[in-house]
């Protein structure tokens, strides 16, 4: 614990460079990923392959409760632990220390999630934060700074998000500018799949947690913005829970 505390104390804002891919750290049991019996309707539909994209879930605002749903739909998610900070509570027998883990997860192609969890052990906190990050995955709308040549590289509009005292403003940037932001926000943008963006932030940006939450809110707002090309009405699609009503119920445990 002491080494970790020392490591945590030294670099405040820097991202923890733990190498990540899809693999977790060692000590995982075999049946964790292979034997997923979904408990929710959405889970069953995803496992059965009826729902294959996150967009279908977003379109109908289906609440996602099981993180394996996200795993099945977005297998190439990369996570990054942004900060582990020890937080303490006073008891009559001294302080009770817990560790707060802040994790950003994304596929560098329009989906990011932010997870924050506190637990008595660092590893537990990180694991749980990753799960929370998966459940909080949100789509990002990317756009162009100028001419719509090639793939979208920046944001379509200026957006802002606020959490606590921190307000983060994201501004579209011309191609080749790169992500002009503080290291934490930069990592979030990279995992989101944004290539060029200018940022401006205010408030107590040292509080990493609030800065990240503000930036998360900001990129979430990209799909909340009504631009003229969305003015047209489009037909409503049926809720997949209705369309596949039978498969959704099949295999439900009867008590």
């Amino acid at each position: 614990m002491s080494t970790e505390q020392a490591a945590a104390a030294a670099p405040q804002k820097r991202a923890f460079g733990r190498p990540r891919g899809g693999n977790r750290r060692g000590g995982r049991r075999d049946n964790e990923e292979k034997g997923w019996t979904p408990v929710t309707k959405l889970g069953r539909l995803v496992k059965a392959g009826k729902i294959t994209t996150m967009e279908e879930i977003y379109l109908h605002a289906l609440p996602v409760k099981e993180y394996q749903i996200i795993d099945t739909i977005l297998p190439e998610l990369k996570d990054q632990v942004m900060k582990i900070k020890p937080v303490q509570k006073q008891t009559r027998a001294g302080q009770r220390t817990r560790f707060k883990a802040i994790v950003v997860i994304g596929d560098s192609n329009g989906h990011v999630g932010l997870g924050i969890k506190t637990a008595k052990e660092v590893a537990t906190a990180i694991r749980a934060a990753i799960i929370i990050a998966k459940l909080s995955i949100i789509p990002i709308r990317r756009g162009y700074w100028g001419s719509s040549l090639g793939a979208p590289h920046s944001l379509p509009v200026k957006v802002t998000g606020k959490c606590g005292s921190v307000a983060v403003r994201l501004i579209p940037a011309p191609r080749g500018s790169g992500i002009v932001a503080s290291p934490a926000v930069k990592k979030l943008m990279q995992l989101a799949g944004v290539e060029d963006v200018y940022t401006s932030s205010s408030g107590s940006t040292r509080t990493l947690e609030n800065t990240l939450k503000a930036a998360f809110v900001a990129i979430g707002n990209t799909y909340g913005f009504l631009t003229p090309n969305l003015w047209k009405d489009f037909e409503l699609t049926q809720n997949p829970l209705d369309v596949y009503a039978d498969e959704a119920l099949a295999g439900k445990k009867r008590y």
Binding site: V39, P63, E66, L241, D242, A245, L249
Partner: protein
């Protein structure tokens, strides 16, 4: 909203509604969202417009009938007056019933044993069943509620204005809902024919009443599936028992007898 004339309120149904005192709303306590009041009586009772009650019942039934899987409709009642109604409703329409305590987390916590994922929730009283409504708001589930004039309307999507204080009223509304849903689904093909089930099946019976009737009757079934309604009404045991009840039920028996003669 123009529906074919067969969906209009029939005189027989109107008599049922009035006999059950569905039109007697709450006194004094009234919320903004109650254009359903027909008039306020001098003693403070707000009279509900039965025509609007009927229209909302039809609207609710259409929504319920549109759900492909009938089990995805959940009927809730924590109050005793609605528990029997909710169970019978679930029985007749294939819905799921939650009678008595609504375990918090039933809609949101996928680990609980009583975890359900309904597409629609019908509630007997938004005030006492607030937990169900609150949880529905967390998981995007629309809510239909039997609202009185003093019922909170937050997160209620379709309100059926009625008296939710009396056991006859609650039972009758659930009965009519069930009948409408079955008619829309096609299980009861003829709209003009009365349903073979009596509304009485949906009324709450308190335990002493149950004991009293089981002593008098010997194996006379309360469920009236096979026998026609007129025959039931003219049978002595049923009427005699009702008349031993306090005034409210006695009125019901008398007015009921009158409506039978009208038929």
């Amino acid at each position: 909203m123009s529906l074919p004339a067969s969906f209009d309120l029939t005189p027989e149904d109107a008599k049922l509604l009035l006999a059950a005192n569905v039109h007697l709303g709450a006194k004094n306590v009234q919320v903004h969202n109650e254009p359903y009041v027909y008039k306020t009586r001098p003693d403070g009772v707000n009279i509900i417009n039965i025509g609007k009650t009927w229209e909302k019942i039809v609207l609710a039934a259409r929504i319920i009938a549109a759900i492909p899987n009938s089990q995805d409709v959940v009927a809730v009642s924590s109050r005793t007056f609605g528990q029997r109604a909710v169970l019978k409703y679930a029985n007749h329409t294939g819905a799921t019933a939650i009678a008595g305590r609504f375990t918090p987390g039933s809609f949101t916590n996928y680990i609980t044993r009583s975890f359900k994922e309904p597409r629609l929730v019908i509630v007997t009283d938004p005030r006492t069943d607030f937990q169900a409504i609150k949880e529905s708001s967390y998981v995007n589930i629309p809510v239909i509620a039997l609202t009185d004039m003093d019922s909170p309307s937050e997160f209620v999507d379709v309100a059926i204005p009625c008296n939710n204080k009396g056991k006859h009223s609650i039972g009758l509304i659930w009965y009519l809902l069930a009948r409408e849903v079955l008619r829309l689904r096609g299980s009861l093909p003829d709209r003009s024919e009365p349903w073979s089930i009596m509304p009485d099946l949906y009324f709450y019976r308190d335990p002493e009443e149950v004991e009293a009737t089981t002593e008098d009757k010997e194996g006379v079934e309360e469920e009236t599936e096979a026998v026609t309604e007129e025959a039931e009404w003219t049978a002595e045991p049923a009427e005699a028992d009702w008349s031993t009840q306090p005034a409210e039920a006695a009125d019901w028996a008398e007015t009921g007898a009158e409506t039978v003669q009208a038929w």
